[in-house]
Amino acid sequence: MARFIIRRLGQMVFVMFAVSVLVFLIFNVIPNSDPAVRMAGRQASESTIQAINKEWGFDESLPQQYITTMEKVFTGDLQSYITQLPVNEEIIKGIPRTFSLAIGAALLWMFVAVCFGLYSAVKAGKFADRFLTIIALIGISMPVFWIGALMNHYLGFKLGWFPNGGYVEFTEDPVDWFYHLILPWTALAILFIGFYSRVLRSNVLDTINEDYVRTARAKGLSERQILLRHVLRNSMIPIITLWGLDFGAVLGGGAILTETVFDLQGVGQYAADSIGQLDVPPVLAVTLFAAFFIVALNAVVDITYAILDPRIRLQ
């Protein structure tokens, strides 16, 4: 077991390294323009450009620049080109907001999706199933920022049932924190509820025909016990894999659209706000941050499986 965990963690470090190289290449090789010229503004003199080149290290070789950039990321010296503020501090400021959004939404979408998916499968082919299927398809067809903006406007601004965007610290006022997050949680959860309930529905329909379910029924267990103990448990495995990855993505600022439309000022929104000015370091740091959570959660999911199912360790 220990060997499996070490190997999996080693793999994770390797993927993270490849990810960081890719991110570096995206921002340093793809752009077809000189960053120093861009920073110096219009009509900058040759000496200003050279000074910027020297200060930011744009004139060094690519591997050297990669090492410097990564050093800056880890030591917290990475600065925004535009505001000159340290990027790491801004990200740390956004973490509680992003995590609040991610944890609440992930619990909400898992719970609702399991209810919908199970009910849909039990009523397969009936009206309730068709209705839930249509709802799920509408859910995955809506842009999250669009439904978020409409909810914010109609439920928040027009009807005044909910606050109109913004965020309150949990430590300041837990009730207000919850109240401010109801709409963002719902908006973010809609898409995932659509996906998960459909995946769960098809898994349940597959499992229901397994031999052990027939055995359970033959033993005289109630339908309720069969569904919850035997069917649901086994149908949950693929969903939990998805959940781990999606939860990682949202923790890392992947809910950039939801954060922006509800003005939560989280990690994702920090990147979103930097796009307009083409401010590279914040976008670079948030991209790395997001990838880290996906890679880490992926490793956690694999290790959990290996603990639960010994066959996986040998593969």
Binding site: I138, I140, P143
Partner: protein, 304 residues
């Protein structure tokens, strides 16, 4: 397809959503970028300003010109919707096509040759797969907006429609190439491939005449769902400022413009959004139906 009649409603809805933008220049009384700030129109004998004195544009008139209202520059929303639909659909279809081609190339090579080419391709796909789709799109969008692309003789400027097409085309590749690879792994062991090999066919001949034709149903389902997801991602990137650049209209940029003014003119947000949802929903239902008809056990999922 087999039960095409069951999906007639979605197909019709899709046909309208796709066909209407194609006729945009025939039915439109103005261009999508022309301002009508000081124009007035007659509705039921009353004269109304297209853009009010307080800067609030007219809402849906449900008559001829400005059928769905105007935006704060006095541009006709209906006309912009149709022209924007051209861009959104074009980006969706071309990006989905690009993803499909790249996925076939990588998936088939990795699955057929296995060995080191498989290891390299899988590692590359794993790395791309380690990013949330929107974040990777944003990162690429910022990088490309800085100076466009210059690849030898091909030069694409930063505000070209090709930028979102390329971004969207690339980010979905792992989601499609992985399942293709899996299918190729089992296809290559089938008797008909062995028969072809025994007849002396080379690897590339086998790939194109035996393997790829057997992927058709998977490709068809994926292609439909990819268009739906590409349209959604285009809207998301345009909303964040990393997709289609103004003054080019697309459903995404129109929603983005609308959200800034949602309190005074909600129709600016609702109209393009409804159009987008209808198109994506029809594609999703359609793709779903095709999948159920062709291969009920396949599990296809793109979004993260």
């Amino acid at each position: 397809m087999i039960r095409a009649i069951d999906y007639a409603r979605e197909a019709l809805c899709l046909a309208v959503c796709v066909a209407a933008p194609l006729w945009a220049n025939k039915v439109a009384h103005t261009t999508p970028t022309e301002n009508h700030l000081s124009d007035t129109i007659q509705i039921n004998g009353e004269t109304k300003n297209v853009v009010g004195l307080d800067g609030v544009p007219i809402g849906p008139t449900w008559h001829g010109e400005f059928f769905l209202g105007a935006d704060p520059n006095g541009r006709d929303i209906m006309v912009r919707l149709l022209y924007g639909g051209r861009n959104s659909l074009m980006i969706g279809i071309v990006a989905a096509f690009l993803t499909t081609i790249l996925s076939i190339v990588f998936g088939v090579i990795a699955g057929y040759f296995r060995g080191w080419s498989d290891s390299i391709i899988r590692a590359g796909l794993d790395v791309i797969w380690s990013f949330p789709v929107v974040i990777l799109g944003v990162a690429l969008g910022v990088a490309l907006a800085l100076g466009g692309i210059k690849l030898g003789p091909i030069e694409i400027s930063g505000d070209s429609l090709w930028v979102p097409i390329l971004i969207i085309g690339v980010v979905y590749v792992p989601y499609m190439a992985r399942p293709i690879r899996g299918q190729v792994l089992s296809l290559r062991e089938k008797e008909f491939v062995e028969a072809s090999r025994a007849q002396g066919a080379g690897p590339f001949r086998i790939m194109f005449t035996e393997v790829v034709p057997n992927l058709t149903s998977t490709l068809l389902v994926f292609f439909t769902l990819l268009i739906a997801n590409a349209i959604l991602l285009e809207a998301a990137l345009s909303f964040l400022g990393a997709g289609v650049r103004p003054p080019n209209p697309s459903w995404g940029t129109m929603i983005d413009d609308g959200i800034d003014r949602i309190s005074t003119a909600p129709h600016l947000t609702i109209v393009p959004g409804v159009m987008l949802v209808l198109t994506v929903l029809s594609l999703n239902v359609f793709g779903d139906g095709v999948r159920d008809a062709l291969d009920p056990r396949a599990k296809v999922r793109l979004e993260r």
